[in-house]
């Protein structure tokens, strides 16, 4: 397998995920910048040496709780 093959796998999954995120009813309420933040944080770990869950969790937590503006999300009844 050439080195670029794995990169192609990552790109394929990234493309699919990006589309799903944009089409999601909740995620699409966020700003484009926030969606990109979330997407980039997730794709950081695609096909890489898996870090400890705590490290991924703290990265995601920082993005979700502090960086994105979730006030725009409409809560259902």
């Amino acid at each position: 397998m050439s080195e670029t093959y794995h990169q192609r796998l990552r790109e394929k999954y990234s493309r699919i995920l990006q589309e799903r995120l944009s089409n999601d009813e909740i995620i699409s309420q966020l700003s484009d910048k926030d969606i990109e933040l979330l997407f980039n944080e997730l794709r950081k770990w695609f096909g890489t040496s898996p870090p400890e869950t705590s490290r991924v969790k703290s990265g995601l937590k920082e993005i979700i709780q502090q960086k994105i503006d979730s006030d725009v999300i409409e809560l259902g009844d």
């Binding site: 394929k12 999954y13 979700i64």
Partner: protein
């Protein structure tokens, strides 16, 4: 982490026939990317592969018959009882690196008294704990296959059918190896942990609802306002009373007069009563003669002098007595005359005297009463006189008492008001405290609600991320499944030189590849490997190899591709093409064979590891190691 690795070295201790060996896979200190391991039956080729597998995935403790179960990896000399530690270490280097500084070193140990393997991974100077080691390792070797699953980077004849059947599972989103490489577990676990933490907090906040409502707070505010107004009103009235108090205050004299009013009235009443009594007992003028006679009679009786009916005046010198009595100035003249007349010899009529005897006791009683009344009168008169001398009059005392009553009334009212104001102020203080409590509680409730909403929003985002990942997984699996099917066909088209058959996927409940004969469309299924002996046997084996290559490729495994004598029935030219395509596509490959012809297939190879194990040897150790293996340019037949 890199995407492709080469094996640099191995150290094997007490693994099957290898007692203590170090195998160096480098050529002039650089890892070999494409190489052959050659040796006759029993030379240790499979042992090396098993050692690599065992180091990658560990002991299969649950399946006693699995080649990697505990006792199956013991050296024969142990006779089924572990007599020492079993250790396999490997060192890998990424394609991009030429220096050993970032080599990955991994070491698996099964100690004699331990129930589990121990895996240690380090990269350069960094050592990983067990959990991180296993995760890191899984990125190189892929997830640990189940007991009946094949290994993605090792194509072995007896396992090709198993491996090719993973196609049927590939489209299953819960059991698809396509996702192994993507390493989404960690992100999904992290999101789940975040979600659970938030749900716990939501649950915590939800408990202990506050008891205060905005309506309650409004009511308290109204009550406080009313109370404050009332206090204000009462305070104003109190000030008025204070002013009245000053107006109705008594000076010392007035105080005294008021205090003495009762005594004054009592004294006057006593005087009047005494007067009346005196008046009743007073001796009237007409009663004097009777009194006189009674007194005389009493005196005479006391002196034991008989009172005769009539009276002979000769016995006494009444003239002298009269003169004497006249000198005393105590007896009225009329009586002096009476006494003198007795001396004149006319005698005295003693009938009055005699009659008066009957009235002595009543006159005595009356006189005693009169004396008492007189005393009483004098006493009362003195008291009244005393009041008068001190300026205590009826008017003054009455006025003082009236003023005092008024003052007392004002004082009472003042006290009552003060008390009421005190109560209201205490009530006001309590209500203000309650209001502060309610305000604080409502604020906390409001903050709680805000936090709850915030958590719910965050959780919405997390659920959406998880859902997006799940849907992406399905999409990715579908795409990868489709592309894997295409890759099988591509590999076939590239390697097959005969062109008689074409691969086709039978898309049923368990999809599998079959061969379709081009000329008549006849379908040939891949039979059990043991029975591949038909005319299409070589094509079937080639199809299996192509399927395995496509499956391995799409799993994203980073290990060098190992082909372990997996194309015994394929013709020579096709074999050559196969090896050429695999070496080119995978970049790093190990061909394992006991066939010299096959051993020569790899062109542009980085060398051949020749293994030569005579049957007389029980095991390989330091003493026979160098004899056992050597690197050559070509296979030694």
């Amino acid at each position: 982490m890199a995407d492709n690795y080469s094996l640099v070295s191995m150290k094997i201790i007490n693994f099957l026939g290898l007692e203590d060996v170090n195998i160096n896979f480098t050529n002039k200190d650089q890892p070999r990317k494409i190489m052959t391991i050659f040796g006759h039956q029993g030379s240790g080729k499979t042992t090396i592969l098993r050692a690599i597998q065992w180091c990658a995935y560990g002991t299969k403790f649950r399946d006693k018959f699995h080649p990697l179960s505990r006792t199956k990896i013991f050296p024969l000399s142990w006779s089924g009882n572990q007599q020492g530690d079993i250790v396999v270490s490997m060192r890998f280097r990424s394609f991009n690196s030429i220096e050993p500084d970032n080599d990955i070193q991994c070491k698996r140990t099964l100690s004699i008294n331990s129930d589990i393997d121990k895996l240690e991974v380090s990269v350069g100077d960094e050592n990983f704990d067990r959990f991180k080691s296993e995760n890191y390792f899984s990125q190189i070797f892929g997830k640990n296959p189940g007991d009946f699953d094949a290994v993605m980077w090792l194509i072995r004849q007896e396992e090709m059918l198993t491996m090719s059947k993973t196609i049927s599972q590939a489209n299953n989103s819960t059991n698809s190896y396509f996702l192994n490489f993507m390493n989404l577990d960690v992100s999904e676990d992290a999101l789940s942990e975040l979600l659970n933490t938030n749900l716990e907090e939501i649950d915590r906040i939800g408990k202990g609802q506050g008891i205060y409502t905005p309506e309650y707070l409004n009511n308290i505010n109204t009550s406080i306002k009313d109370l404050e107004l009332k206090i204000q009103d009462y305070s104003f009235k109190l000030n008025v009373l204070m002013s009245d108090k000053k107006n109705f205050s008594l000076n010392a004299q007035e105080e005294k007069a008021a205090d003495l009013r009762e005594s004054f009235i009592s004294a006057n009443q006593e005087l009047n009563s005494a007067k009346i009594e005196l008046a009743n007992l007073k001796i009237k003028r007409g009663e004097v003669p009777e009194l006189f006679h009674a007194l005389m009679a009493a005196k005479l009786i006391k002196k034991e002098i008989e009172i005769d009916q009539s009276f002979d005046g000769s016995k006494f010198e009444w003239g002298e007595i009269a003169t004497y009595l006249s000198k005393t100035n105590r007896i009225p003249n009329q009586y002096i005359d009476i006494i003198r007349s007795i001396g004149n010899g006319s005698g005295y009529d003693t009938s009055n005297l005699f009659n008066a005897k009957q009235k002595i006791s009543s006159w005595e009683s009356r006189i005693r009463k009169l004396k008492s009344a007189l005393t009483r009168y004098h006493k009362a008169a003195l008291a009244v006189d005393d009041f008068t001398k001190n300026g205590i009059t009826d008017e003054k005392t009455a006025s003082a008492v009236k003023k005092m009553k008024e003052r007392n009334k004002i004082n009472e009212e003042f006290k009552d008001r003060e008390l009421e104001i005190g109560l209201m102020e205490r009530n006001l203080k309590a209500q203000k405290k309650e209001r502060a409590k309610a305000t604080k509680s409502l604020k906390a409730e409001s903050e709680k609600r805000e936090r709850l909403d915030e958590l719910k929003r965050i959780n919405s985002v997390i659920y959406a991320l998880k859902n997006s990942i799940a849907l992406s997984n399905e999409d990715y699996i579908k795409e990868m499944f489709d592309s894997t099917i295409q890759r099988v066909k591509q590999y076939w088209n590239e390697i097959d030189l005969i062109g008689k058959y074409e691969p086709m996927l039978e898309d049923n409940e368990n999809p599998e590849f079959v061969l379709r004969r081009k000329k008549d469309g006849k379908i040939v299924r891949i039979s059990d490997g043991a029975n591949i002996s038909t005319a299409a046997g070589g094509e079937q084996q080639l199809l299996l190899v192509c399927t395995c290559l496509a499956v391995s490729e799409s799993s994203g495994a980073k290990m060098p591709m190992i082909l372990d004598d997996c194309f015994t029935d394929i013709d020579k030219k096709t074999r050559e093409k196969l090896v050429e395509v695999v070496a080119k596509k995978f970049g790093s490959m190990i061909l394992v064979t006991n066939d010299p012809d096959k051993g020569k297939l790899l062109k542009n190879s980085d060398g051949v590891l020749n293994l030569q194990w005579p049957s007389k040897w029980n095991q390989i150790n330091q003493s026979n190691y160098t004899e056992w293996h050597k690197w050559t340019e070509n296979v030694n037949g």
